[in-house]
């Protein structure tokens, strides 16, 4: 029986997260067991019984002060320093991996009540051009770093990929960034016609955003690169033909659906949000 169970790990960088998690579990577990051992031990050994008198000391002798100092040093070096330095290294790796992700696949993500929308840049490689297309399926190639820039339309949402161990708030008024590299394909993928089929992973929303927050789940497909290209082509083709996407029962208002996006902002590192710079003349928003 595990103390904890983590979900499947499909991320190379995410290995660091799991390592810090298990290190935290072991170190804090040792500390907790020590506390429990002393607690239960004292309750058993020092219960009130005839002929047994409590000791009388206030704990302010030099020995006790030394114990306080020693415990502080032990907690600082054995717990705090270990966990903080390991956690910081994971963060550094996250920041450093971002440059490669920006050179990889880029997707713009917009959260709104109560669905995620994903904008791909199309064949010209630029966002904000007519060959962009927008989907509610999040499709990425496997073993390729993917950078996402995230905005929110209305309230705060949070872009969450549990198996890749990333979470980034989508905040109205600023653009936040994240990246990941998926290491396992989803059960379902892209069929010969370039459409998604089969069982997907899931994108979740991890910030309360209203009454539909619990339903803010989008399909997330991780597919081999050739399938990813095929899917891109199919979407681009559809965009050219200006077909309405069939998203099920929901009616899609193309203005709302398509009329967002921003010029991709080159960032040196992920996480920090920044207000998008205003669109220049001739640049579509």
């Amino acid at each position: 029986m595990h103390i904890f169970q983590l979900p499947p790990l499909h991320s190379e960088w995410g290995v660091g997260i799991d390592e810090v998690f298990w290190l935290s579990t072991y170190l804090t577990g040792i500390a907790f067991l020590a506390v429990c051992a002393i607690l239960f031990g004292c309750c058993i050994l020092y219960r009130e019984r005839p002929g047994h008198r409590a000791a009388y000391f206030h704990g302010n002798s030099k020995l006790h002060l030394a114990m306080t100092g020693a415990l502080s040093a032990l907690v600082f070096l054995g717990l705090d320093y270990q966990l903080e330095s390991r956690g910081r290294r994971v963060m550094e790796a996250y920041k450093q991996g971002f440059a490669a992700a920006e050179a990889g696949v880029r997707v713009q993500v917009r959260g709104q009540q109560f669905k995620w929308y994903f904008r791909y840049h199309g064949p010209d490689g630029k966002f904000g051009t007519p060959d962009d297309f927008v989907t509610t399926d999040f499709v990425v190639p496997v073993d390729v770093p993917v950078a996402v820039q995230i905005q929110a339309k209305d309230v705060i949402h949070s872009f969450y990929l549990p198996f890749q161990r990333i979470k980034q708030d989508a905040v109205p008024g600023i653009t936040t960034t994240a990246w990941f590299q998926a290491t396992m394909t989803s059960p379902g993928g892209i069929d010969a016609n370039g459409e998604v089929h089969g069982e997907s992973y899931e994108v979740g929303c991890a910030e309360l955003c209203g009454s539909g927050h619990t339903n803010m789940r989008n399909p997330f497909y991780v597919v081999p690169m050739d399938q990813f290209r095929r899917w891109n082509e199919r979407r681009h083709q559809e965009e050219l033909e200006e077909e309405f996407f069939n998203m099920g029962e929901d009616e899609i208002d193309t203005d709302v659906f398509r009329n967002w996006g921003w010029p991709w902002e080159v960032r040196s590192q992920p996480l920090g949000g920044r207000a998008p710079r205003p669109a220049k003349a001739g640049e579509e928003s």
Partner: protein, 610 residues
């Protein structure tokens, strides 16, 4: 040196309105806060049961062969509230339940229980005063809580229902995305509760500094008073911050300001640009983090005292405990960003906040050292208050240590807004504070009401409560580690969470057990109040000043203010023969000193102003 103050003795009022309703007597006000807190504890607990009911049987709960079993109707209340759905909770009510459970528990249940009830009742008694520095302000502080509570309850009944944006009320969800009166009444209610706490905090600080008995130096105060003192300082400093933030939310909601409004709402309504969503989060969490220490500090103080009293041994490392509590207070003011690691805040800020957060573990470890050092070589009496204090060590150990997971900026990328965080803060805020508060009730009930509660029933209540809350919050941490998000009314929507659905159901069962176990406590309270055996002055054989008085004390507490010669931890001093304790009001072991003691207050015995 500060001069000492002392109230005159005067006749108590005879009119029941002034004696029991708008009382100026800190003991009556304390009992008023106790009843108030227990009422809202029940309301908050009921809301928690509604949350757990929905999580046990969510709307997309899968059945065998791919069918959907779905939600079950909530018992009794379900059909009353939602007849159209057959008694099944709608998703927006789930968000109401989550929001109101959190805010009612934090602002209307546990703070009024610990700081309000016990702060008011104990501070003058334990420092040797006849009442608080400002008795009229004290009465006002309770009666400001009453409209605050009414506003919270009323918010359930307005159109659109009560607030639904979480107890954190992040903008813009709580501003332009929450039309209707519910959120505004919530904001007003909490602002009023904050005003009441500021009044109380001012009173506590002034009383503790200026109204101590002669010889009661700050370092001879019970640790309960130190905990309440630090709580009051944090309250007074930080409640104005959250009140300002909530005022700004009200302005955004009603007066078309754009402090936090941006995005499509601002554009659509023609608002002026310039709002910053993150500004709200900073304002809220600058208060929000000290708030969680406001909630726990009285419990720490009480547990530190009770462990000593029932181990019949001085509190180990008293000075270090005071310093540790003070250090935690200071540190708590510079760690708020650990709630915002993935918020879009500058990641370099995140690094600073992460380091500061880890530092909190050092004074916390010192607290544990001193608690365990108090037990070591003691002679432990397993009374109900002692059992609760021991279980606080256990649950706070679990909760505090899991803070080290969340404090890591890297790990929080995964754990943020998951049930791991919920489990962590419930262990530290709910379990520790609730168990500590229950222990405090059992301990001071005899002094408040002159009767004893039933010990065996108390022990059964303790066992059931401790075991069930441990299962509940450990289960939350388990599903949270697996990636279960917070505040989702229907986790079964997510395929990846399906392995955790049974754990959710088990956690809910344990929560129902915890809730219904409190019936034992209610029965014990009621029976004890009406028919408990008379308590006498000092049933627990304890040393703090309140145990030198009758149970309950006279309205003016002390006929003559005692002179204090030692701290409250003179247990099993080898120089005492006849009993194993020496009260703080008793003369010192070697006899009274001939000259005034060095370190005693300057103006011993001087009649001060009222």
């Amino acid at each position: 040196m500060l001069r000492r103050y002392e109230h005159h003795i005067h006749e108590p009022p005879t009119n029941p309105i002034w004696k029991y309703v708008f009382s100026y007597d800190h003991k009556i006000i304390g009992i008023q806060f106790l009843i108030y807190a227990l009422f809202f504890l029940a309301v908050g607990g009921l809301l928690a049961m509604m949350i757990r009911w929905q999580l046990a049987w969510p709307a997309s709960l899968p059945g065998p062969d791919g069918t959907i079993l779905g939600s079950k109707p909530f018992p009794i209340l379900g059909m009353m509230l939602w007849p159209n759905s057959g008694g099944i909770m709608p998703p927006d009510f789930y968000n109401i339940a989550v929001t109101m459970h959190g805010s009612i528990m934090v602002f209307f249940a546990i703070s009024p229980l610990l700081a309000g009830a016990f702060g008011n009742f104990l501070i003058p008694l334990q420092i040797g005063a006849r009442d608080m520095a400002f008795p009229f302000l004290n009465m006002l502080s309770f009666w400001t809580m009453v409209p605050a509570g009414i506003l919270m309850i009323a918010s359930f009944f307005v159109e659109g229902g009560a607030a639904q944006s979480g107890w954190t009320a992040y903008a813009p969800l709580s501003t332009v995305a929450a039309p209707g009166l519910g959120q505004s009444l919530w904001l007003l209610g909490i602002i009023l509760a904050g005003v009441a706490s500021i009044m109380g905090g001012t009173n506590y600080i002034t009383t503790i500094i200026l109204y101590r008995a002669p010889g009661m130096t700050m370092m001879r105060l019970p640790l309960t008073i130190w905990g309440l003192f630090f709580t009051a300082v944090l309250n007074v400093l930080y409640l104005p911050v959250v009140a300002s933030g909530f005022m700004m939310l009200l302005l955004d909601r009603h007066l078309m300001t754009t402090f936090f409004t941006t995005g499509v709402y601002a554009a659509a309504e023609g608002f002026a640009p310039g709002g910053q969503v993150l500004l709200y989060q900073h304002i809220f969490w600058v208060f929000g983090h000290p708030e969680v220490y406001i909630v726990i500090l009285p419990a720490w103080g009480m547990v530190s005292d009770l462990l000593s009293f029932f181990a019949r041994k001085p509190a180990f490392g008293y000075r270090e405990t005071v310093l540790a509590m003070g250090m935690i207070c200071v540190l708590s003011t510079v760690v708020w960003g650990h709630h915002m690691f993935v918020s879009g805040m500058n990641p370099y800020l995140g690094r600073v906040f992460s380091m500061a957060t880890f530092m909190v573990s050092i004074p916390s470890a010192i607290l544990f050292l001193n608690w365990l050092g108090t037990l070591y070589k003691g002679s432990i009496r397993f009374t109900t208050p002692m059992l609760f204090s021991l279980s606080v060590i256990f649950v706070f150990g679990l909760g505090g240590l899991t803070g080290l997971f969340n404090g890591s900026q890297g790990l929080d990328l995964y754990l943020h807004d998951s049930y791991f965080v919920v489990g962590h803060f419930h262990f530290t805020m709910a379990a520790s504070v609730f168990l500590g508060g229950l222990g405090a009730v059992y301990f001071w009930f005899p002094k408040m009401f002159g009767r004893m509660m039933n010990e065996p029933l108390g022990k059964v209540h303790w066992l059931l409560t401790t075991i069930s809350v441990t299962i509940v919050f450990a289960g939350m941490m388990y599903v949270g580690a697996y990636g279960h998000m917070r505040r989702v009314a229907d986790p079964a929507v997510y395929q990846f969470l399906h392995p955790m659905l049974k754990v959710n159901t088990m956690v809910s069962m344990a929560a129902f057990c915890a809730f219904f176990s409190q019936a034992l406590f209610a029965a014990n309270l009621i029976h004890g109040f009406f028919a408990g055996p008379p308590a006498g002055d000092n049933p627990w054989e304890c040393t703090t000043l309140e145990w030198s008085l009758s149970s309950p004390p006279k309205p003016h507490n002390f006929d003559e203010i005692p002179t204090v010669h030692h701290g409250p931890f003179e247990y099993n001093n080898p120089e005492i023969d006849d009993k194993d304790w020496l009260g703080q009001w008793e003369p010192p072991i070697g006899g009274l000193p001939e000259a005034p003691e060095a370190g005693a207050s300057d103006d011993a015995g001087e009649e001060g102003e009222e």
